[in-house]
């Protein structure tokens, strides 16, 4: 079964602190967690949110295996900017990055254009945005970079492609000015359980996190077979009960996302008390088998859509 950890919850300092996040990353990695989901609201009383890129990349150096997922407000994003920043994040984390697409216009008042869009238009724009970002990530084939010093050929232009995307919401010529991410495309994670959110997940998600106590079979039917499906498990310090719940859920989906009530204390308790029991039952590996997040999640690495 797959295992991710969410980071919303109380326990953060009043102002953002890199050391506090480092503690979470190191703890989760000690417990072999596949990915830490950095899409929370942190601090006392859910007091702050952060931009994902500085956070995710600043946590690369203190960890080796764990996936690091950051939230993108996909309704407002430009695909070129997303593709460029996550191409960097994926390289700098050595293939451990993922995007969590936040839909629902958290603060539409901050974006003039958002006020003009209907809900359906916003989700259509989000789907197109993800599709364009994937084209941009694929615009440099894996073999495009040669580093051939004697002949002075850094790259092979035949393997770099304009994408010439002309859609409803975006027209983007490309190519991207960044090498293909190490994972090919960083995984896309969603947790929007609205009807539009399910439809978007069916089209574009690699991993979907169902809300607590939801009908997993119904969600599976709605989002289709492709995305990995995880159940949400709250964790507030009762290891035995938690193990039983995870064992029961893991039979009905691909894994679980742990939501700690208080951080880092409950995450530490989970890692020290629950993870060993899951390992003893053969539900979790004793160590990371792969290096990239795609490998942890059992997702194959996509070939560039422009490769001959």
């Amino acid at each position: 079964m797959l295992l991710t950890a969410s980071t919303s919850g109380s326990g953060a300092s009043l102002a953002p602190s890199l050391d506090w996040f480092r503690t979470l990353v190191r703890t989760a990695e000690r417990g072999g967690v596949d990915a830490l989901l950095l899409d929370g609201q942190w601090g006392a009383g859910e007091s702050f949110v952060l931009d994902p890129i500085p956070l995710l990349v600043a946590l690369a150096e203190c960890s080796t295996y764990i996936g690091l997922a950051g939230a993108i407000e996909i309704d407002h994003a430009e695909p070129f900017n997303i593709a460029r920043s996550f191409a960097a994040a994926d390289r700098l984390t050595a293939g451990r990055s993922a995007l969590i697409t936040a839909t629902g216009a958290r603060k539409p008042g901050d974006f003039g254009h958002a006020l003009k869009h209907t809900t359906a238009e916003r989700y259509a724009r989000a789907a197109e945005c993800i599709a364009v970002a994937r084209k941009l990530w694929d615009s440099w084939e894996d073999e495009a970079i040669l580093l051939d010093k004697p002949n002075g050929r850094f790259s092979n232009p035949d393997r770099v492609h304009p994408i010439n995307h002309a859609g409803t919401h975006f027209s983007v010529r490309g190519p991207l000015n960044a090498p293909r991410p190490l994972q090919g495309n960083p995984p896309v994670i969603m947790r929007d359980a609205s009807p539009e959110g399910f439809a978007l997940a069916r089209e574009s998600a690699d991993l979907f996190i169902a809300p607590e106590s939801s009908d997993l079979a119904a969600i599976r039917r709605t989002i289709g077979e492709r995305p990995r499906l995880l159940a949400t498990v709250p964790f507030a310090g009762k290891p035995q009960a938690c193990v039983a719940e995870i064992v029961e859920l893991s039979a009905r989906c691909d894994g679980v996302d742990i939501v700690s009530a208080t951080l880092p204390a409950d995450l530490e308790l989970f890692v020290d008390e629950v993870v060993p029991l899951l390992r003893a039952r053969g539900l979790r590996p004793s160590a990371y088998a792969g290096k990239t997040l795609r490998e942890h999640l059992g997702l194959s690495r996509p070939r560039s859509q422009f490769a001959a």
Partner: protein
């Protein structure tokens, strides 16, 4: 105390020589790896540098519709790079470039506020408006925004960001909603309600850096800039540029002390002058002239591919073809008009350091040269452009920095933890406290 130099390092894929990736010292695969940036960030901090600077581009480097295969790919996303450096350093400032033409203020204000919090007050934003019209095609637009409009939008963009950074009073927490106020910023360009999603950044505002050399660019720099990067090949031009910026600032009621002007400087160092010259000749071997011709064509928009390499640079034709040349191109045209320059000569200048000042000599000679520029009012410091990373950067830090310290023009330790402390810049006060 004697005026002090401020130093930045401009990271680049491989180095500032366009063919640096081919140099035997350079492991080219490192350009896209974490360790490359971490190593150079640590060298910057060892050299007590004010800042580590990353530029940006929003389109691939192409020649007539195809990626230029002879040169390295652009550097990775600048905010990502400086965030990696933030995690392994304690003091050095972190300046990332982002465009006001292809972003939204709410996102950028949050990005730099996050960086400022996570780095403990070391963030700086190089505010650019993106000249290259090819970028427009990657952002659902058919052409670049006209220059004066770009700068009006940029001014409004910065105003909106400042309003967001000030939306929380200093020290306010989410438990004190009365001390957090949505700015409801409105202009012709943006509508931003706010407030910011996190407490006020440690520096109040990240340090604002500017690099525009045109008329509207200079006005913008004089209005919002706290540091300026500029390409200045010779002292008289640098003095005139600095005086011009100070004049524009005076009109706006700003003191010249509130800005640091830092021209680019690309050093080729050697134990002796002959050694340095030999090293420069080695660099020159690495780049094919066609790369320099491509760079000239990109900079001027005037197609030079079919011109013989040894013919004179056709400055008259270039100026007639493109009356809106950028400041760097104009400076090259002036050099070519002052003394005859072939296309091959111009190409060599471009591959060497673009139009930035290059210096070939010993560490002592370079320290004298930099001190002279400082004392003669040519600059407040320099943005260092090493030809090859990390070796040429380490040479500078280990051999030139001690010479500057000996001359009393460079710090022996950091004065404080923030980029504002390094620059001696005041912290923007923000809204008055309503704490009860």
């Amino acid at each position: 105390m004697t005026r002090q130099l401020h130093l930045g390092v401009f990271i680049y894929p491989g180095g500032h020589h366009i063919a640096a990736w081919r140099h035997p010292d350079m492991k080219a695969e490192r350009i896209t790896e974490l360790d490359y940036y971490i190593e150079n960030g640590r060298i910057a901090e060892r050299g007590l540098f004010d800042l580590f600077f990353v530029g940006d581009a929003l389109n691939a480097r192409e020649r007539e519709g195809r990626v230029v295969g002879e040169i390295a790919i652009n550097n990775l996303d600048p905010v990502s790079i400086v965030s990696a450096v933030a995690s392994v350093t304690e003091r050095v400032g972190l300046v990332a470039t982002l465009s006001t033409t292809y972003n939204e203020p709410a996102m950028i204000a949050a990005k730099f506020a996050t960086l400022d919090h996570l780095s403990g007050g070391r963030a700086g934003w190089n505010v650019v408006t993106t000249l290259d019209e090819k970028a427009a095609l990657n952002f659902s637009r058919s052409e670049a925004m006209e220059k004066s409009l770009r700068y009006k939008r940029a001014q409004s963009f910065v105003d909106a960001c400042r309003a967001l950074w000030d939306s929380w009073e200093d020290g306010a927490t989410a438990a004190e909603p009365g001390r957090i106020k949505a700015p409801m910023y409105r202009s012709e360009y943006f509508s931003v309600d706010g407030p910011l999603g996190m407490p006020r950044p440690p520096q109040g505002h990240p340090v604002l850096v500017q690099a525009g050399g045109s008329e509207p660019g200079r006005d913008f720099a004089a209005s919002i800039g706290e540091a300026i990067f500029t390409a200045q090949g010779a002292l008289p031009g640098a003095q005139a540029f600095r005086a011009d910026i100070h004049r524009r600032m005076a009109k706006l009621g700003r003191s010249p002390d509130s800005i640091k002007i830092m021209p680019g400087l690309s050093p080729v160092l050697g134990d002796t002058e002959e050694h340095a010259l030999r090293r420069e000749a080695e660099f020159a071997e690495l780049a094919h002239p066609s790369v320099g011709v491509w760079m000239l064509t990109e900079m001027t928009r005037f197609r030079l591919y079919d011109h013989p390499l040894d013919s004179l640079l056709p400055t008259k034709d270039i100026r007639a073809f493109n009356p809106a040349l950028g400041e760097n191109a104009v400076s090259l045209m002036r050099r070519a008009e002052a003394s005859p320059m072939t296309i091959r000569d111009a190409a060599r200048i471009m591959v060497r350091s673009r139009v930035h000042q290059s210096f070939v000599g010993t560490p002592e000679q370079l320290a004298d040269h930099m001190t002279m520029w400082l004392n003669e009012g040519g600059s407040d410091g320099f943005n260092i452009l090493p030809p090859v990373f990390p070796n040429d950067f380490a040479l500078f830090v280990d051999h030139v920095v001690p010479e500057l310290q000996r001359r009393g023009v460079y710090r022996r330790d950091y004065a404080g933890p923030t980029l504002r402390d390094h620059f001696g810049l005041p912290r923007p006060p923000g809204r008055p406290s309503t704490r009860t």
